[in-house]
């Protein structure tokens, strides 16, 4: 049997990843999802360059252009996807809205991940009373639905500091609320993996060397528990975006002058039956595709990262 030189030289870790990558690319659905997700990300990052109008320009809103149907109906080539009730170009607003939604989703999940990893590691590694206490906290947190916590929290904040203050801090607040509300999912997953890894002898070997618990947790155990986290990460981003959209739809999310996708749908919903369906439907479709893609990506990752799940 002949070996390629490359196979001998490259360390296996990279070959392991390339193996997973090859499987992932072979999965057409997952590849499609990844491509669309990358497209969304690029659009979100380059929104200021791509958008035909600058939404921060005072001339952007023009009531004379209000409620123009999309290009293929009205034939108005200035506004590809039509305009909303304030005369804003839908395409520009959706581009910026996607950017906002994705930012909030990713940042919120980053907070969740950081919290979840720390708590899960501590809980799983120390065990005993600490573990019991932290996991009961997680149970309590899980028994309260995210939406309820967020609604109560945001409503109180609005009532206390007023609308003006809230509009300034809306994005930060949303990130914090969604980020803090869903850490138990990560914490539990990490804890379960840590409990399995802790039994293995390499942890004992590190302890015998006198290496500190902090270093054992983060340098030895954590890298071995990250595979499931990657999967939850993608699925949670879609959950966070949905949560943000729902909150915005209820009027507790992003303000109307700085709209996310959810806020756009919320505003457009009142025009639904007056004939201007595009104000609501186009952002909705954008959001639905984004969520679908994120979930498909998560599914694909799970299939390929965990060799034990066989699919026929």
């Amino acid at each position: 049997m002949r070996y390629f030189k490359k196979d001998i030289i490259t360390p296996a870790q990279s070959s392991r990843w390339s193996h997973i990558w090859a499987g992932f690319i072979g999965d057409k659905l997952a590849t499609l999802a990844l491509a669309i997700f990358v497209f969304y990300c690029l659009v979100a990052i380059f929104a200021p360059l791509l958008a035909p109008y600058n939404i921060n320009n005072p001339n952007f809103m023009d009531l004379e252009n209000a409620e123009i149907a999309p290009f293929w109906i009205s034939g108005d080539s200035r506004f590809l996807l039509g305009t909303d009730a304030q005369g804003r170009d839908m395409l520009s607003v959706i581009l910026y809205g996607t950017r906002l939604s994705l930012t909030i989703g990713v940042c919120a999940v980053l907070i969740q991940t950081a919290l979840g990893i720390c708590i899960g590691l501590i809980s799983g590694y120390l065990g005993g009373r600490t573990d019991n206490f932290l996991m009961r906290c997680a149970d309590i947190q899980l028994s309260l639905s995210t939406m309820m916590v967020a609604i109560v929290f945001l409503a109180i904040f609005q009532a206390m500091f007023g609308m003006a203050m809230y509009q300034q801090l809306a994005m930060l607040m949303l990130i914090l609320v969604i980020g803090l509300a869903e850490w138990p999912l990560f914490a539990r997953t990490i804890r379960a993996s840590v409990l399995a890894e802790k039994q293995k002898e390499y942890v004992d070997a590190a302890r015998i060397m006198g290496i500190s618990p902090k270093r054992i947790m983060f340098k030895h155990i954590l890298p071995n528990t990250l595979t499931p986290v990657l999967v939850i990460f993608t699925v949670q981003i879609s959950n966070a975006i949905v949560a943000e959209a729902a909150l915005s739809f209820l009027g507790l999310g992003m303000p109307a002058n700085d709209p996310s996708l959810g806020a756009l749908i919320s505003v457009g919903f009142s025009y639904m039956f007056s004939g201007s369906w595009w104000i609501c439907v186009i952002p909705s479709v954008t959001l639905i595709i984004l969520i679908l893609v994120m979930n498909m990506l998560g599914d694909g990752l799970r299939d390929h990262l965990n060799p034990k799940t066989y699919k026929d």
Binding site: E201, Y202, I208
Partner: protein
């Protein structure tokens, strides 16, 4: 006379069994009492490990061999008893105080597939302890230490950047040994290091361990099931049964003249090809649970020579004329 390196006296370890809070309450003579079930893994172990020797610990599954190793290494705290390293007591030290002894005592584990971190290359695995215990060394000096170390255990230094799963079981066990040796210890505990390996590879690893012993004047505590290895490798042998040492003798004495009835049964169970004249001694009776500490000798339930004294009084280790020590009333009384 050999100088003792480690002295273990009256070491006991009881694990709380995993019982819910509610089931701990029992009605006992009309009163509600709380009683925690305990698993007694070690029931008063007395052992001295001499400098430069290889002490093999043998015994059946669950007799506390691995617990003994873990307590010695400070991975679990003992419930009672003392461990002395040379003349310092080490069993009650906290992590920081123990640091001084960390580099003197090391351990090689049973499962070569779990004892190396799968996400760390050989270089990372070895450089971590070296850099940790010698903070003054530069990265280059650390690498200069790793190369000869790897070579000495028969791993090509060019494989330094490979991950553990690229090595065979024997190679991994040698890397584990290299990791233990990396901090230049005096004492190594090997917890069944050969049981996961092929017979041909076993010999390889065993020979490597013997070479290293000569080279660095190491002391081994070698835990094993394999009596053939014991005969080949050990200076002295300790036979354990249910958390106690029941016989301690030099290898030659133990194999030629086993005294404790359990040792006799154990040795007679070695399958032999040359002759079938010695019939294995069959032990009758159940292996007692470790939940309740037995009163008297731990071997009472299966011992063919047990008399009332064995059920009442726990035997001490008594030195025999041929320098072995046996904990058995029957041997002591000359009934056996």
């Amino acid at each position: 006379m050999a100088t003792p390196l480690i002295q273990i006296s009256h070491l006991e370890k009881a694990f709380a069994s995993n019982q819910s809070w509610f089931s701990q309450w029992r009605i006992d003579r009309g009163k509600l009492r709380r009683k925690k079930d305990k698993v007694h893994a070690l029931n008063g172990v007395n052992l001295t490990i001499n400098q430069g020797e290889t002490l093999c610990v043998v015994g059946e599954t669950g007799c506390g061999k691995s617990t003994l190793a873990r307590v010695l290494m400070g991975l679990t705290a003992p419930s009672k008893g003392e461990v002395h390293y040379q003349d310092q007591r080490i069993d009650h030290l906290n992590d920081r105080q123990r640091m001084l002894f960390r580099r003197r005592m090391q351990m090689v584990f049973q499962n070569p597939y779990a004892s190396l971190n799968p996400r760390m290359t050989v270089y990372q695995t070895l450089s971590e302890p070296i850099a940790f215990h010698n903070p003054q060394l530069s990265a280059k000096q650390v690498e200069e230490k790793i190369r000869p170390l790897l070579e000495s255990v028969g791993i090509a230094p060019s494989n330094m950047d490979h991950y553990p799963h690229e090595f065979s079981g024997g190679q991994r066990q040698r890397i584990s040994l290299a990791r233990a040796l990396s901090v230049e210890p005096d004492f190594i505990i090997a917890d069944e290091p050969l049981s996961a390996l092929d017979v041909s590879v076993q010999a390889q690893v065993l020979n490597l361990m013997m070479d290293k012993q000569e080279e660095h004047n190491l002391t081994y505590l070698f835990i094993t099931h394999d009596l053939a290895v014991v005969e080949h490798f050990a200076t002295r042998v300790a036979v354990m049964y249910l958390g106690r040492v029941c016989e301690l003798a030099s290898t030659k004495t133990l194999f030629s003249a086993p005294k404790h009835p359990y040792t006799q049964a154990l040795l007679s169970a070695i399958p032999r090809l040359d002759n079938n004249t010695t019939q294995p001694i069959r032990l009758m009776g159940e292996v007692p649970t470790q939940m309740d500490k037995p009163i008297g000798c731990v071997f009472q339930a299966r011992c063919p020579y047990a008399n009332p004294r064995c059920y009442a009084e726990s035997p001490d280790m008594i030195r025999q004329p041929d320098n072995s020590s046996v904990a058995c009333h029957a041997v002591d009384e000359g009934r056996l």
